[in-house]
């Protein structure tokens, strides 16, 4: 049911963990749905230098979290803000239809982290 890319990111997730001195942190999801994603950012200048994640959730939730970290690293925050959940799913060659709701929140978590960064670092 999952694509090879999903299984690759699920079984070898990239950038798992926390960033000790993160300057933006975002979390989305809740326990009812069974998916919670937390994203840690290290932003320097306007560029995302490092991203890490922690996720409670199904295979799709972990794979999308992993993928969003790869997509975000090196991007400016404006570029990262236009990343959509859909784009993350597409980068994984798609998700099963049932997974498009709760489990596909990784870009939202990234945006929350950027929002947190912006609140803490008003331009």
């Amino acid at each position: 049911m999952y694509t090879e890319k999903v299984m690759d990111h699920f079984s070898n997730p990239r950038n798992v963990g926390e960033i000790a001195n993160a300057n933006g942190v975002g979390e989305v999801g809740n326990a009812s749905c069974g998916d919670i994603m937390k994203i840690y950012l290290k932003v320097e200048g306007d560029v995302i230098q490092d991203v890490k994640f922690k996720t409670f959730g199904c295979g799709a939730a972990i794979a999308t979290s992993s993928m969003v970290t790869e997509l975000a690293i090196g991007k400016t925050i404006d570029e990262a803000l236009v990343l959509t959940n859909q784009a993350v799913a597409e980068a994984l060659d798609g998700l099963p239809p049932a997974k498009m709701h709760c489990s596909n929140l990784a870009a939202d978590a990234l945006h929350e982290a950027i929002k947190d960064y912006r609140e803490k670092h008003p331009a």
């Binding site: 299984m7 699920f10 079984s11 997730p13 798992v16 963990g17 979390e27 999801g29 809740n30 326990a31 009812s32 749905c33 069974g34 998916d35 919670i36 994603m37 937390k38 922690k54 996720t55 409670f56 959730g57 199904c58 295979g59 799709a60 939730a61 972990i62 049932a98 997974k99 709701h101 709760c102 489990s103």
Partner: protein, 405 residues
């Protein structure tokens, strides 16, 4: 890769003896058992033999056995057939919140047709309060439906006691014995059951065949209309090979019940103790007294981890189990059984069922006990709920939680 199958409550492989017994009924003895000629006659005796074998396992008369297409059909037939047949007497049905969907959704459908259904709750151990059950009976009550054993937790319900209550109040009693049959003794007479349902694929027969015990004299409306098969109680040309297989599977289940029970129980206990001893923060789901659970079933929640991701990691090691998480139930809610037991929502998403069978070995259990701790640790390290200080976000506006009280 190792292939370790610990999902026998989902389905089982067809047993060799069962398959051997079935094969002649595809090509050599292909007749329709309702036909009068040689081809039909050859086959009808095979059906009657299977009927005896099923009756033997359930301790009823062969005439009380009806062959069906699956367990779900049996539950539908028993409940809808009773509701129709007895609607002049009353419109109230009592069941439990932890039944299989084949029972729950049938009852929900009847509610739309004007029947009233009481869904009895369970305690934290997943057990019923029989006083509550008895108190729920009203003059309108026409049916009590309680499963013999629960598919998720393995909890065994006190069917004889419920049978006595039903008899005392003259209410018909149906039990879904799909998980109990072949794993523990199922004596429908001793338990005062009026209708009991079993399914072939849970006991080493193929998928797509089941049977119902219908106590002599029990009035029920037909569910499947058509031909006069099964003494007019179930239309449809017999699934001869499947029925023959079900018969042999029942015979084997009865023959091997004691030895399999003891063997599987010992493996399950080993797995249970091993997991509870080596992995911290694991919760047992179901009755803590192992005698009150099926000998083959273990349901545990590995806190902080979502069930589907756990199953996928198990799968990479060749271990097949199942989960009560929303992601694996195909809905947005985790298992209704965990919900009814009041299991914390995170723990419900992490509930994992291991259901063993007589083909499992001690080496397999050792392997599983070896592989589990690092998988659990790895996923916990990945989880934002592990070692968390702030409260866990619990609710979601978009999701509806279903509470069956």
């Amino acid at each position: 890769m190792n292939k370790i199958y610990l999902d026998n409550n989902a389905t089982t492989a067809v047993k060799e003896e069962v398959l051997d017994a079935m094969l002649p009924y595809f090509r050599e003895q292909f007749g329709n058992p309702s036909s009068v000629h040689w081809a039909g006659r050859m086959v009808s005796s095979a059906i009657e033999k299977a009927r005896e074998q099923v009756a033997e396992l359930l301790n009823c008369s062969p005439a009380e056995v009806i062959f069906l297409s699956c367990g779900s059909e049996g539950d539908n037939y028993a409940i809808k057939g009773t509701a129709e047949a007895l609607k002049h007497k009353g419109n109230h049905i009592i069941t439990t919140a932890v039944e299989h969907p084949a029972v729950l959704e049938t009852c929900e459908a009847l509610e739309k047709d004007g029947f009233e259904v009481t869904y009895l709750g369970v305690d934290r151990d997943g057990m019923l309060d029989l006083k509550e059950l008895e108190a729920a009976i009203t003059p309108q009550t026409i049916l009590i439906s309680v499963m013999w054993a629960n598919n998720e937790t393995g909890n065994i319900f006190p069917i004889s006691e419920i049978g006595a209550i039903a008899k005392k109040h003259r209410v018909r009693f149906h039990t879904d014995a799909v998980q109990a049959a072949g794993k523990i003794p199922v004596d429908v007479r001793a338990a005062n059951v009026d209708m009991a349902v079993i399914s072939g694929h849970k006991i080493g027969a193929p998928k797509g065949v089941g049977a119902m015990y219908l106590k002599r004299g029990t009035k029920i409306n037909r569910f499947m209309h058509g031909g006069h098969q099964e003494r007019n109680r179930r239309a449809g040309t017999h699934n001869v090979a499947g029925i023959v297989g079900l018969g042999v599977a029942c015979e084997l289940a009865l023959r091997d019940l004691d030895s399999n029970y003891a063997y599987v129980r010992q493996l399950r206990d080993k797995l249970e103790q091993g997991i509870l001893e080596t992995i911290p923060e694991v919760k047992l789901n179901g009755h803590p007294d192992a005698d009150l659970r099926l000998p083959n079933t273990l349901n545990v929640s590995f806190n902080y981890i979502e069930g589907e991701s756990l199953l996928l990691f198990f799968d990479m090691k060749g271990i097949a189990a199942s989960s009560g998480s929303a992601c694996t139930s195909g809905s947005l809610e985790p298992s209704h059984v965990m919900g009814a037991m009041g299991v914390d929502i995170v723990l419900a998403h992490s509930s994992t069922r291991f259901s063993l069978g007589p083909d499992n070995t001690e080496e397999e259990i050792d392997y599983v006990l070896n592989e589990l701790p690092p998988i659990v640790q790895r996923l916990r390290e990945m989880s934002p709920l592990y070692n968390r200080e702030e409260p866990t976000p619990l609710s979601c506006d978009e999701c509806r939680m279903v509470h069956r009280a």
